[in-house]
């Protein structure tokens, strides 16, 4: 009996100890990831960097990081990546949980959300000290990375959206390509024309009436002298703007130039290689210029050309600077190393030689010059397009808190119209009511 008891106690003691140790070592691992103080290598520091993108981008970024580690043997960079949607879901949970990466990829539309919730570090001091050299960045580009006057992000690449078409295909079906500076009226005519020239089951352009609030709808309201938001975080446009926008699309849909709701849903989450434009279902689509070469790879029967987003006659320009940015998180334990990494990413030939125009034209004008001879023709066209249109860019207010919910309502109501369940008027009423309760 006694002996049994001893064995029992011993066994459980062993189990508990191992459990305890496992628990401790687990948390040890975590903290070393966080602090980057790996036990062995003295001064070696580990930082973490995360980005969104596809497989190809992952390869490029991994190579850039490898070169950074080579150049800075004391800094190790852990990598995290995912698709666009997953990336933002994960980042929000990581930041809430206090274990966000040191360097994170950032976007205009979301930066204010994070910055105003104190999740990002003001990088001004690194810029002043020259750790991050912004001397070759255009003022507007630097400006586009600030929120409330604080520098929260540095541009990896600046890009502009445009309407893309396959010049070879248009010639084949005998449709004149659109003008670089076209209006929404001309856009409508062109969509109907091309829709006539194509087989019945095809369309002019995918349904751009819903989804995210930018860029499509945002360009439209900006051209009408408004914006989606005001500087103080209220709704920046009127019900008429929304009605005009959705009426235009509903009209195109009724005439068969834009797909119905079910077809749009079917292609909703299709990757680039299988979306409506790439599969030839539509003749036009809206694309951020930096992705032009990715689309070009899918077409061997002609060059893809990109023109400006349609405008309004006598209207204002819709353009604003967009792109992908790098930020340092507020809780980073190694902001100095993180800043060094960002500087390497945006300012060195080693990095830009690989980056080229992956997420847009490089922020530094010197680097933009440097990558020019390395580009494929489609990338070249994209850079030309970006440089031409960036001239029209006007500042754009940041998104207020609650933007996700607002955007959801925009998408819901737009697809209500597309499925024929809501009239334009009803959808506009719904959205305005939702906006009022969300943006208080």
């Amino acid at each position: 009996m006694k002996k049994n008891k001893v064995i029992h106690t011993l066994l459980s003691a062993i189990m508990l100890t191992s459990l305890f140790l496992a628990g401790c070592s687990g948390s040890d691992n975590n903290s070393s990831e966080g602090n980057g103080e790996s036990s062995g290598g003295g001064d070696e520091v580990t930082i973490r960097f995360s980005w969104w993108g596809d497989t190809k981008r992952n390869e490029i970024y991994n190579s850039i990081i490898d070169r950074f580690e080579e150049a800075n043997p004391t800094i190790k960079v852990d990598r995290e990546f995912g698709g666009w949607n997953d990336y933002w879901d994960r980042l929000s949970t990581q930041i809430a949980g206090g274990n966000a990466p040191d360097v994170v990829s950032m976007h205009q539309f979301y930066v204010s959300d994070y910055a105003r919730r104190n999740a990002l570090l003001n990088m001004q001091e690194f810029a002043d000290a020259g750790t991050i050299d912004l001397s070759n960045f255009a003022e507007a580009t630097v400006e586009s990375g600030t929120v409330d006057g604080n520098l929260f992000m540095v541009a990896k690449g600046v890009t502009m959206p445009g309407i893309v078409y396959n010049a070879g295909f248009l010639e084949e079906i005998g449709v004149e390509p659109p003008d670089m500076n076209w209006t929404w009226d001309e856009f409508n005519e062109k969509m109907l024309e091309v829709n006539q020239a194509m087989p019945e089951e095809n369309f002019g352009v995918p349904d751009l009436s819903g989804g995210q609030l930018q860029p499509n709808f945002r360009y439209f309201v900006r051209q009408r002298g408004n914006d989606v938001f005001t500087e103080d975080g209220m709704l920046g446009f009127e019900r008429e703007d929304l009605v005009a926008w959705w009426t235009m699309w509903e009209d195109l849909r009724q005439k068969g130039a834009v797909p119905d709701g079910a077809t749009t849903t079917e292609y909703d989450s299709a990757p680039l290689e299988q979306n409506m434009f790439t599969t030839g279902l539509t003749a036009f689509t809206q694309v951020p210029a930096n992705q032009l070469h990715l689309y070009q790879e899918q077409f061997d029967n002609g060059d893809l050309e990109i023109v400006r987003m349609p405008g309004l006659e006598d209207g204002e320009t819709g353009e604003y600077i967009e792109g992908a940015y790098l930020s340092i998180t507020e809780r980073s334990e190694h902001p100095e190393e993180a800043a060094k990494f960002i500087d390497f990413f945006v300012n060195t030939e080693e990095a830009l030689e690989l980056f080229k125009v992956e997420q847009g034209s490089p922020g530094s004008s010197e680097m933009a010059e440097f990558v020019l001879p390395l580009l494929e023709p489609a990338q070249q066209r994209a850079v030309d397009f970006i440089q031409e249109t960036v001239e029209y860019a006007r500042p754009a207010p940041y998104a207020p808190l609650g933007i996700n919910e607002l955007e959801q309502s925009f998408a819901d109501n737009a697809s209500g119209i597309a499925f024929g369940q809501l009239t334009v008027e009803e959808a506009a009423d719904n959205f305005m009511a939702a906006a009022e309760s969300i943006l208080q």
Partner: protein, 296 residues
Amino acid sequence: MIALKNAWRRNAVAYMFLTPWIVGLIGLSAIPMVASLYFSFTNYDMFTDPQWVGLANYAQMFQDQKWLNSVEVTFKYVFISVPLQLTFALCVALALSKGLKGLRFYRAIYYVPSLFGGSVAVALLWRQLFGGDGLVNRGLAVFGIEGTNWISQPDTALYTLIILAVWQFGAPMIIFLAGLKQIPIELYEAAKIDGAGKFKQFFKITLPLLTPIVLFNLVMQVISAFQAFTPAFIISGGSGGPLDSTLFYTLYLYQKAFTQFQMGYASAMAWLLLAAIAILTALIFLSSKKWVHYQE
């Protein structure tokens, strides 16, 4: 006093062995649950400190059109998929209980879909099956029927998910099979002598004696149907679309928590879901007095 001490001493070892489980229960279930109960009374965006708002989250739900819609979708899903799935499971179990050759093989084969359960791969497969040029439509084309894209039509999208749930009938089937084996063969023999046909045998003997099993399966499946998440998330690409026709309660909860940063609201939703499941389960148990027969 001494008795108590002795009892403690006797159980100490047991408690020690239980420690890992207890630690897990407290750390991974109990504490998060208490925390979520607290958050459900707050306005919490995960970045800044929660602010106490009392019952505001709960009140807000009943004015939230999307929430009401998600409740409707979920109830529809539960009330259609569970009876269908159980009927189907019972039918297959009856067929398999006839003692045909290769029973083990069939049992295994029919159970396989349940193993895949809520897996991502199956949901992706479903997308392919019911897509515009998916297998289902090709099958229909053989009979000259032109199918639509089942998944991107608001009227049919939910039914593809219901079919997916029914298809995963393996677990209740196995339990029904075991239950059928428990029914004494003499009862059937006696019934046969008395002149009862197959149908009468089923409704007078099989079904009544199987009711405890039906109750068990019903409760388990209702609970798990309320918690269904993965298929809707994958098939609609996380949106619950088209037109929120597949916006399950759990999916909306996820959206609120992780894309709109409304953790307080989402916590309140979670607690209401718990309450709804508890009430429904209680109702099933209460009603069971009327229709479940336990063998004496």
